[in-house]
Amino acid sequence: MKAGVWGCRGSLAAPGADTVVYGGNTSCVELQLADGPPVILDAGTGIRLLGLEVASRSGPIHLCLTHLHLDHLEGLGFFVPLWQPGRELHIWGPASPVESLEDRIARYLSPPLFPVELAEVPANVTFHDVHEGDFTLGSARVRAEPVSHRGPTVGYRFEEAGSVLVYIPDHEPFLGVDPEAAEADWVSGFALAEGADLLMHDSQYFEHEYPEHVGWGHSSVAHAVAFGRLAGVRRLVLFHHDPLHTDDQLRSLEARAQELWGDEGMAPELAREGTTLQIRSTSRVTTTG
């Protein structure tokens, strides 16, 4: 199983000279399974370039959305396979008690926010409202569970041949809770992340920034590290970089994460656009790119 990072910026795309190291595109990860169709996690602006690449491949494409905030959806209208007549595209996303996934996505893919309506899309799109539970994509068993973030949001756990990747890009697991005193079974996302070989997790804020953003649905670097520790993950890759953070600031954030993590095991790192993470069943994870 491989995870290619096409976008790891949070909230808003942030192109520019100060964001070239970690990248400015919003959330999008391509999951390459040993066997099966391409699986794409989130449709932030990173999906635009990925779409150009997967458009030439045949067969179905699966897009797993964690939630429908714009930074996870805004690239969908520019995803080339969406405009390929007859292309089989499956879109998975969190269920809502009020509206179907399709109706909620159509709110964005329609005027006045977008010039074309979802009904005009030529691809053959199937929407899957994800409730808590397991499903299969190619050679991977997938589990989606609701996690603490504003509005219906899920995290995903992919298990393939003994290796586990967990993707929770937007998450505030310690809302109103002291991580030191947290009981694992009372922490949002714990069961999803437990024992993962690779956890890609929200780490939007420095610790001093978090108090002004409590309840916004994101983690401080300290909370991300505490969550990774609690869940016993082997490798923590920090995700959803604040759009106001420059590369220099993100280097500091990464250093802070490593300081908090300590010397035991593999040091946490920040996701970088353009890199590929390989997760093997031996629990070894390597980075290329």
Binding site: E145, S148, A184
Partner: protein, 134 residues
């Protein structure tokens, strides 16, 4: 790998909410087990949650025997918590309880079901208030 069972997200958020307000609140899970009550509720119940731990439905019903004003026992299925859990609707009643500190208290009890996104009952939030001002 065997994974740890986890509380549902509505239950997690309900507990955090309960932990941060001064209104006496308790939380039941989808089986009716008393899984949490906050500090203001501890003052009414007479014990802390840490002391009692989780109590299965049969257990807490036996410990907190509910009576109506005329002294008759309230059948389990008529308790506001049971109505919320089984009928998936809020329920309210003023009842008389003997607490763990031996004091008899009159409590206004409001039980609110927590419905998950799939409409399943994740648990019940119980608001209780001393009706006699004791």
């Amino acid at each position: 790998m065997e994974r740890t069972a986890q509380k549902s997200l509505p239950l997690i958020l309900a507990r955090e909410f309960a932990s941060n307000v001064a209104t006496p609140l308790s939380i039941l899970d989808e089986h009716g087990t008393l899984v949490f009550f906050n500090e203001p509720a501890e003052r009414i119940i007479g014990r802390t949650h840490a002391e009692l731990g989780d109590l299965a439905a049969d257990e807490w019903r036996a410990r907190f025997r509910a009576e109506r004003a005329d002294g008759t026992h309230v059948p389990d299925e008529e308790l506001p918590t049971s109505v919320a859990l089984m009928e998936r609707r809020p329920a309210h009643e003023t009842l008389h309880y003997t607490m763990l500190d031996g004091r008899r208290r009159t409590l206004s009890v409001t039980a609110i079901p927590l419905l998950e996104r799939g409409e399943e009952v994740a648990g019940v939030v119980v608001v209780f208030w001393e009706a006699d001002g004791a």
